[in-house]
């Protein structure tokens, strides 16, 4: 067949390849800096890299993962933040978004900026300031607590208060960001729905639960997935504010991953942790899309 008409298919093939030649630099970079590390860390997770020379031991790191109390502690801490802090933050963000959109609020631009501003601030100064606010002896928070007759709290030096500190800091930093995303969702809800509801005699609460919340669901889902992935990758706050302590009370999956990889140089075990984090993140996203978004898609 090819002997009969040699010229045309060849030329067509050449033209078909042309775009790929243009894309080659990208693919080369993608292969070197993305595919290769992803594949290599998968291989690493099966090597015993505790000390040189590295040896192949299939279940070494994965077996340790199952038994490692420090890993389970980090997983537990991360899940606690996920289950407690994320819903609280998104509830706040939803209320804020409604307030941002409300006609009753004046100086909207200022408020939107003010709540978004924490995100613009660098992570290091923000953490330093929080460390000062939550300082045991000289912090303004304990000063405020004692001045109204409450006992001062050793925020950074006991397990539960340290976790609460992290959650407060994260909520302060990320609520405004989510509120702005939710606000954009809010603005896409047609006003005619609210007018119709008003004519039918629905109060503000009924409007919120009957119209706003159901129609915000896809945007809320988006925020949920983003926050879940963000929490699973949580590093800055525990690293800089509580230094993952006291002890490992605020250790997260990624701070533990970092310590394993770049303080202990156990790259194999660190790779196993990294893959676990990625698998958990993917699983959570799938579940959330199924639970919340599935119905939306079907509709």
């Amino acid at each position: 067949m090819s002997q009969a008409r040699p010229a045309r298919p060849a030329r067509r093939r050449r033209t078909d390849l042309t775009p790929y030649w243009f894309l080659l630099p990208f693919f080369a970079f993608f292969a070197i800096f993305w595919i290769y590390p992803i594949a290599y860390s998968f291989v690493l997770s099966f090597l015993n890299t505790r000390s040189r020379p590295w040896t192949l031991e299939w279940g070494f790191n994965w077996g340790r993962l199952v038994r490692d109390e420090f890993f389970w502690n980090a997983l537990g801490n991360t899940m606690t933040i996920l289950v407690v802090q994320v819903p609280i933050m998104l509830a706040f963000a939803t209320l804020l978004a409604v307030a941002f959109g409300s006609d009753l609020l004046r100086f909207k631009g200022f408020f939107r900026f003010a709540f978004f501003a924490p995100l613009v601030l660098g992570a290091v100064p923000y953490s330093a300031v929080f460390r000062l606010i939550f300082n045991d002896q000289f912090g303004i928070l304990n000063y405020a607590l004692t001045s109204i007759g409450l006992p001062s709290v050793p925020w950074l030096f006991e397990n539960v208060p340290a976790m609460v500190t992290i959650m407060i800091a994260m909520t302060w930093r990320w609520t405004g960001y989510n509120a702005v995303i939710l606000l954009s969702g809010l603005q896409s809800i047609p006003l005619t729905l609210y007018e119709a509801a008003k004519i039918d005699g629905a109060g503000p609460l009924q409007q919120f639960f009957g119209i706003t919340l159901p129609l915000l669901r896809p945007v809320l889902l988006f925020c949920f997935v983003l926050s879940t992935i963000g929490t699973l990758q949580l590093f800055t706050e525990p690293w800089l504010i509580t230094t993952t302590g006291p002890g490992n009370a605020t250790e997260t999956l990624v701070t533990y991953l970092y310590k394993t990889g770049f303080r202990s140089f156990n790259f194999g075990y660190a790779s196993a942790i990294a893959y676990t984090v990625a698998i958990i993140a993917a699983a959570f996203s799938l579940i959330q899309i199924r639970l919340v978004g599935g119905r939306e898609v079907q509709r």
Partner: protein, 419 residues
């Protein structure tokens, strides 16, 4: 044509310069300290240029490891490494640094104390030369001690220290404490006290886990006794400085290098500070231990290993250079020949003209040797947690806490627990 000639000339100049330039990677105060030794080095090797670069502590470590991982690329001629972290390099990258024996390094062995060499040698190989040490001591505020009626000369044991702390609490209604302990952030207090009791995470050869041995149990109990007596503030590095600046800490327990930090952070407290020896854990016990310290190594990729070696020896094994580094920059020499040197009897103004260096250096010979091993960070991460849980009362006894620590260190390092 002219341009080519110029380029050739430039190339020649560059290659000539690089043949006679030594680069040194250090952090912080080590830059001016080592720069102060260049003059005497250049007298021995005229025409050689020495460039000391301050990359910052973490960066030196990170770039050093990256360079070694890349097979010796982008490394300086002289490299500053912390003692505790040194064995990570020797274990992970045994070919990255020059064995100083090939340059005559065995001549240095008797000049420095054994505890400094433990982490810098691997078998017969010598990978780095001891620089500063961190013999511990108690830095104290003369005025606050006096106000509370505490006489530092009478503090010989940690029990005495706790008793003085009670007096301090009464005198200042609890706002001024005897010291600061990093609770749940680091395990420095454990390491200092354990070292004093001749115990460490690992044995001296770094082959067994010894963290649940009697000396470490004693260290834990001493710490718990002090914590329960509420004579210490909880606080990390930054908080301790805040306590010092705000007159809320009457003393600090740390390696000798902390003197430089106090002087830099609380310059207005000149003359109000003093030093006494680390209290013993039992009546008449050892009053010495060590925390931290660093060493200079020569990467195997250096083009001028002999020159680099001469630089290191001149900086670290020369009494005159080491005395200047001590008095001008507060870095404690490891050089044994300086013990008893009359120059050490010079008073230090910040410390009320007390000759603190004579006192502190006198303890160097009593410091037990330890081996940080390549698993230092793994063990430290475990101990930070266990110490904190023990202080919070989540263990019934120090032995139980340390038995658990030993099991966890074993599971992350693969080393056996000593019988």
């Amino acid at each position: 044509m002219k341009r080519i000639a110029l380029a050739a000339l430039a190339l020649l100049v560059v290659s000539m310069a690089s043949a006679q330039t030594l680069t040194v990677w250090v952090w912080d105060i080590n830059k001016p300290a080592l720069e102060s030794t260049i003059g005497s080095f250049v007298e021995m090797h005229p025409g050689v240029e020495v460039v000391v670069e301050d990359l910052g502590n973490q960066n030196v470590y990170d770039r050093g490891l990256a360079g070694c991982a890349a097979g010796g690329l982008d490394l300086p001629d002289v490299y500053l490494v912390e003692n505790n972290e040194a064995q990570v390099f020797w274990a992970q990258f045994p070919d990255c640094f020059t064995d100083l024996r090939t340059l005559g390094g065995e001549e240095l062995l008797p000049l420095f104390p054994d505890f400094k060499w433990a982490e810098l040698t691997e078998g017969e190989q010598i990978f780095a030369v001891p620089y500063d040490s961190g013999p511990t001591a108690i830095f104290y505020r003369r005025d606050l001690y006096e106000a509370a009626g505490v006489d530092p000369a009478e503090i010989a044991t940690w029990d005495d220290f706790a008793e003085a702390g009670t007096a301090m609490n009464e005198a200042f209604d609890g706002t001024v404490k005897m010291g600061t302990i990093s609770k749940g952030g680091d395990d420095e207090w454990f390491r200092m006290l354990a070292n004093q009791a001749d115990c460490f995470y690992f044995d001296e050869e770094g082959t067994e886990i010894t963290v649940n041995q009697p000396g470490c149990v004693q260290a834990m109990e001493t710490m718990k006794m002090l914590w329960d007596a509420s004579v210490l503030h909880p606080g990390g590095w930054v908080e301790q400085i805040q306590f010092i600046q705000n007159d809320a800490a009457a003393s600090a327990f740390f390696g000798s290098w902390y003197s430089g930090t106090i002087i830099a952070e609380a310059p207005d407290q000149t003359g109000q500070w003093g030093v006494y020896l680390t209290p013993a854990q039992t009546e008449g016990g050892v009053r010495a231990s060590n925390l931290g310290g660093s060493a200079l190594a020569i990467p195997a990729s250096s083009d001028n290993p002999e020159l680099a070696y001469d630089f290191v020896v001149n900086a670290l094994a020369d009494e005159e250079n080491q005395l200047r580094i001590l008095f001008d920059y507060g870095l404690t020499p490891s050089l044994l020949s300086l013990q008893g040197d009359p120059a050490l009897e010079t008073g230090v103004e910040f410390f009320g003209d007390q000759p603190i260096w004579d006192l502190i250096l006198g303890t160097l010979g009593d410091v037990p040797a330890v081996s940080g091993t390549q698993f230092f960070q793994e063990a430290r991460n475990v101990m930070i947690v266990v110490v904190n849980d023990y202080l919070d009362g989540r263990f019934d006894s120090a032995q139980e806490a340390l038995d658990q620590a030993a099991r966890q260190i074993a599971s992350s390092t693969g080393l056996p627990i000593a019988e």
